[in-house]
Symmetry: C2
Subunit: 229 residues, 2 copies
């Protein structure tokens, strides 16, 4: 996820795509941490809600672990806020209305749509916040990235979704549509994190490559589930 | 909480009350872990629900930590089940219906009743499972007790309840009544954990001292909130 770390290339090297420097589009540290922390709290609440409505105990068990993971990210970010003398509630507050609205938008009509939302939105926005963290000063960037890149806990989402999709082709096409719908709202949240001055807004072309990366990862997640992105 | 550990006595020594040996009333290891694990999962769900309806971000923040604590207990117990070759879902399943019913009974009419339920039921049943753990074979007892005795995270419940009670005497009397109502249902859950044969059932007197201890701790929690138990 942090592509500046040297690693073996997958077949068909992607080195040709030079990583876009967005460090000057990175927000201030405390707002960054506040928004990411509130997002993880939202993810925790969505996942915790899915625990209660899970069809069996094994799914509940797995989802509770996923909820715990989101909560751990939230608390890790809160710790970073406190370390910088910030008050978590104060730093998160500005982002609450938009993220609450967003959470409602992506809740979905049933348990499977909720699961897909958690998987896709969590994946995309965790990727995004990891990406933004490159531009943060000091050691907070790497620490936030390490917290956020922790993908553990999503295996239960993939497993439950795959099983349900395999069992019901109707569900597959409904979820494919839902996955596509999510992207727009999710990218709007990502966009709202960047402190774009009016001048910079004109430079949309600088942000687009970042979004292209995020959407590519999103598409891989959809593919992995057997859904057309 | 584990009174066999030597410690300084609070004023008015309680040594006079000899601790009742209930080791032969302790259930088998896996059912014990299954019931305790499912109870902690229920507590997690109740607390996670209270996060969503919390009146402000500071309360949400604190409650999410409390939910995380219940989840950590749950996962710790699950780990103990796996360590013994058990399947968590299988071991928890027998206890799900009664604990789901119980959870519904103690949900309460509003956010404050839910908080009080989590505080009192969590306190009483954690105490109880710690107490029962004395009779477990091998090292599982001490490990389970250490997990369950972890009271961290309840301070937010006490703080929110105290503030609300101070602000509204009507709430105080309603919550006092609610706290009293909870005890009966909670003790029934505790009782259901003991594998009482018909013969032992006749010996109610052996269990009563244990319940007396549990109720004493419950009364101290009520007192701490300024509520009459």
């Amino acid at each position: 996820m942090r592509s500046e770390i040297p690693r073996l290339q997958a077949r068909g090297s992607q080195r040709a795509t030079k990583k876009v420097d967005i460090s000057d589009l990175t927000p201030e540290v405390l707002p960054y941490l506040g928004q990411a922390a509130y997002f993880e709290l939202s993810m925790f609440e969505s996942l915790a809600g899915a625990v209660t409505t899970a069809p069996d105990l094994a799914a509940r068990e797995g989802l509770s672990a996923a909820a715990g993971r989101a909560l751990a990210k939230h608390h890790g970010l809160i710790t970073e806020i406190r370390r910088r003398g910030g008050e978590p509630a104060t730093e998160m507050a500005p982002f609450a209305p938009a993220l609450d609205r967003y959470r409602q938008q992506i809740t979905g009509a049933d348990w499977y749509e909720t699961l897909l939302s958690c998987y896709l939105a969590g994946g995309l926005l965790d990727d995004f916040f990891v990406r933004l963290s490159d531009g943060l000063p000091g050691d907070v960037g790497p620490r936030a990235a390490q917290l956020l890149a922790e993908a553990g806990g999503t295996d239960v989402l993939v497993r439950e979704l795959k099983a349900a999709i395999a069992a019901d082709p109707t569900l597959a096409s409904r979820l494919a549509m839902w996955g596509r719908r999510l992207v727009g709202d999710t990218l709007l949240i990502a966009r709202s994190a960047m402190p774009l001055s009016a001048a910079e807004r004109a430079e949309e072309s600088r942000i687009e490559p970042v979004f292209t990366e995020l959407i590519a990862a999103h598409t891989r997640r959809m593919d992995g589930l057997g859904l057309t992105a």
